[in-house]
């Protein structure tokens, strides 16, 4: 009898170990710690799934890697950044079944999962088309008078920390990370704590989407704790936190003051807006850019 022939019913599925996505590589937590993730239904993958639990050191490493990737990402042409974000949309579309499975496992209905994935793909397309346009909407030529050309140009900030909401774990995460990326920032993302798998799988898609290593880094773990660590980290220029617990948002704002961090904290309203026109837009990009004013003389 042939070794490889088998009855599908008797075959044992291969379970996957989920890992962080940092610096373009898939890594295990430094502490070796994981935490159990509740799954709604039994799946071919595994009955019991563990997610990697990020420590302060994991976060520090992710920030270091992201900071190193910033210059290269910001200096790419706007068109090229757009092409890469569009590539993400293509990869999501091609692997939507896997994403669907993950969302359903973590508690979405099949219908909701479909809607969330389609909105996620379209959100990528929306922001892909923004990389070479926000400048013409946010920049200005300033009529200062006198013999100078004076213009104001948007520049990126650097490392933006993103703490994704517990609900809408894919669309929420993307709606926070994409506008930061559009403006030339790099991100360190903390996935939904209870529903981290779809975010970790997103890392696997990003790895095949021409996104340069280190531009997007994805961790999972105790969100509130990691949010405060991000807020304290001096290399992190800005932080966007969606959390249901008001105290988390207060902590993040207070700790962010240590390095005059740009902080945006939002509660459940963020999730409510995700499927409305307010779930995307120019303001989300403008939040993570710094206008720079340049004066240049006009003379022979």
């Amino acid at each position: 009898m042939n070794d490889v022939s088998h009855d599908a019913g008797q075959r044992l599925a291969v379970a996957k170990t989920y890992k962080f996505f940092v610096g373009g590589a898939f890594i295990r937590p430094e502490s070796g710690r994981t935490y159990p993730v509740t799954t709604a239904i039994d799946s071919a993958d595994a009955h019991h799934v563990n997610a990697p639990r990020a420590s302060r050191k994991d976060l520090r490493e992710a920030v270091r890697v992201a900071a190193g990737a910033w210059k290269g990402w910001a200096e790419r042409t706007a068109t090229n950044r757009g092409q890469i974000l569009y590539r993400i949309a293509e990869m999501l579309e091609a692997r939507r079944e896997e994403l669907h499975q993950q969302l359903v496992r973590s508690g979405s209905s099949a219908g909701d999962a479909k809607v969330e994935i389609e909105a996620s793909i379209d959100r990528c397309v929306y922001y892909a088309g923004f990389t070479d346009k926000y400048q013409s909407l946010l920049a200005s030529a300033n009529p200062t008078g006198g013999p100078h050309f004076v213009f104001t140009l948007p520049e990126s900030m650097g490392v933006v920390g993103v703490v994704a909401p517990e609900e809408a774990p894919l669309l929420g995460l993307l709606s926070m990370a994409l506008p930061a990326l559009v403006g030339g920032n790099v991100v360190v993302v903390i996935t939904s704590e209870c529903r981290p798998l779809v975010g970790l799988v997103l890392g696997e898609l990003l790895a095949t989407s021409d996104v340069p290593a280190g531009v997007v880094n994805i961790l999972s773990g105790p969100s509130a704790e990691l949010a405060t660590e991000l807020a304290k980290h001096r290399e992190v220029a800005a932080i966007h936190v969606v959390a249901d617990v008001p105290q988390t948002l207060i902590d993040v704002e207070r700790l962010g003051a240590g390095s005059i961090k740009r902080v945006k904290g939002e509660g459940h309203v963020f999730v409510e807006r995700l499927y409305t026109p307010r779930g995307q837009g120019l303001s989300a990009i403008e939040r993570w850019i710094e206008p720079k004013t340049i004066w240049h003389p006009v003379a022979i």
Binding site: Y86, G129, V298
Partner: protein, 493 residues
């Protein structure tokens, strides 16, 4: 110094000690049909008249295919198809329109090499340019405008806007597919449908683009391609249900279109001729300015409306600069457009060659001094050696009229004011170039030059995010950028 190099040649020996073997781009895999029909309502249909005209390769005079000639009836059918398609198009969510355009962009990107080869075959431009300039820009324009389709509220900053309906678009033969993309992309992004007429010598890439529209299942009728010559274009421009006319071409034809559409209420944009000044100051980075001068006038055989066809040089460096320029011209390789090492391809048509020859003759007769790069031209096809005229004054025809060929007129100036005065002394106002190491001088010049585009220490740069268009008789309206979108909508307030 100038005379010495004229009679004795260069100090340098740009010879054949180590020559490049022919490096032709393979073309056999690119399928050219023997006959091309009109693309109306998403289908390829025979022309009402049953008439076809040949399209040739200007580098060999080989007939590549025959192309349908559209008459009034065909134009009418195309406009009707576009009207119907446009109604469905604006009913779509903006994000869906955006995704259609992205899809088109990707499909063109995937087929870039095939389209580049066709462009070089049918139009005569070197493959180096069609491959590295035309096609990447075509894709960039499609991508760029795809992204606007769902952001028009932002683009028009809260003002109420609505699409115009059917746009009639007439494009030239110098950048056939690129001009098609410049026209189609913003029109569709803003919610219009188009009927596009390519130039009669270069129809093929637009027709292959039509095939791509079909393949990606772009809603039928949204893009219609009708081929033909001036009469077809006139029929399109004057069609009563065409609400918008976009024309790129000569000032002479632009004038006729503006007159013909007078009183019709049609929205009109014209991108016409030019006679751009390329101004080099003594403090310029001279060796880089040489490259800029070469690119400004010899890119695409000089078939460029914004070509830097008048070189204005500060007198103190004119001798050295002209000597260097001639040396650089000796290294230009004129020949087979499909050879990867060709810098200058074929003149697009016999008619254009005659125009160039006529103006060059006038330059000689009016007393300017001609120098042409020593190069062997192929026996068949339409060719013209890269040429410069020195001793040109502002009154010479070659300093005033658009030659639209690889011919540069060199004038000199003494002060910046004089440079501005000479540069602006033309009926055109499309583009200008300034070369100086002093930033403040670049801006000073840019403020004073009457041109829609000013390049400083560069030339012939194009990007979909950068609006392009002219002043004065170079036309009106802008293409590209946020500003370019307003050509395709009605805006209240």
């Amino acid at each position: 110094m100038k005379d010495a190099s004229q009679t004795t040649g260069s100090l340098f020996e740009f010879g054949s000690k180590w020559d490049y073997a022919p490096a032709p781009e393979a073309r056999d895999w690119v399928k050219i049909q023997s006959r091309y029909e009109l693309f109306i309502g998403g289908k390829f249909v025979a022309p009402h008249s049953g008439r076809y005209f040949p399209t040739i390769s200007p580098s060999t005079e080989e007939v590549l295919a025959e192309v349908a000639e559209a008459d009034d009836t065909d134009v009418d059918a195309a406009v009707a198809a576009a009207e119907e398609a446009q109604r469905a198009w604006i009913a779509l969510r903006p994000g869906e329109r955006s995704k259609y355009l992205f899809r088109l962009a990707r499909a063109v990107q995937e087929r870039s090499r095939e389209l580049a080869i066709l462009e070089s075959l049918d139009g005569g431009k070197p493959i180096k340019e069609s491959r590295d300039v035309d096609l990447p820009l075509v894709c960039a324009h499609l991508f760029y405008h795809a992204g606007w389709a769902d952001k028009l509220d932002l683009a028009f900053q809260g003002r109420a806007y609505r699409p115009l309906g059917v746009a009639g678009q007439i494009i030239p033969w110098n950048f056939p597919l690129l001009m098609a993309a410049w026209k189609i992309a913003p029109a569709l992004a803003c919610g219009n449908a188009v009927v596009l007429k390519p130039a009669e010598t270069t129809s093929l890439t637009a027709l292959h683009l039509a095939r791509i529209c079909q393949e990606i299942e772009l809603p039928p009728g949204l893009v219609n391609i009708i081929t033909g010559a001036g009469a077809t274009g006139a029929a399109l421009a004057s069609h009563p249900r065409v609400k918008k006319v976009a024309f790129t071409g000569s000032t002479e034809v632009g004038r006729r279109i503006q007159a013909a559409t007078a009183g019709s209420g049609k929205k009109l944009t014209l991108e016409l001729g030019g006679k751009a000044a390329n101004i080099v100051f003594a403090d310029a980075p001279i060796d880089q300015a040489i490259e800029g001068i070469i690119g400004a006038i010899f890119f695409n055989q000089g078939h460029v409306c914004c070509a830097g066809s008048r070189l204005l040089v500060e007198e103190s460096v004119a001798g050295e600069l002209i000597e260097k320029l001639k040396d650089r011209m000796r290294t230009l390789r004129v020949g087979d457009p499909l050879d990867k090492n060709t810098d200058i391809g074929a003149i697009n048509s016999e008619a254009q060659l005659k125009t160039i020859e006529g103006l060059v003759k006038s330059g000689e007769e009016e007393g300017a001094e001609r120098w042409s790069a020593p190069c062997e031209l192929p026996g068949k096809g339409f060719w013209f050696s890269p040429t410069i005229f020195t001793g040109v004054t502002s009154s010479h025809r070659i300093a005033r009229e658009e030659i639209f060929g690889p011919v540069l007129s060199v004038l000199t100036f003494r002060t910046a004011d004089e440079a501005v005065e000479k540069a602006n002394n033309t009926m055109y106002g499309l583009s200008a170039g300034v070369w100086t190491s002093k930033g403040s001088k670049s801006f000073w010049m840019a403020q004073r030059l009457r041109a829609g585009v000013v390049w400083a220490n560069t030339f012939n740069k194009f990007d979909p995010s950068a609006p392009f268009g002219g002043l004065k008789e170079s036309g009106f309206g802008r293409e590209g950028g946020r500003q370019g979108l307003s050509a395709y909508v009605e805006i209240d307030g």
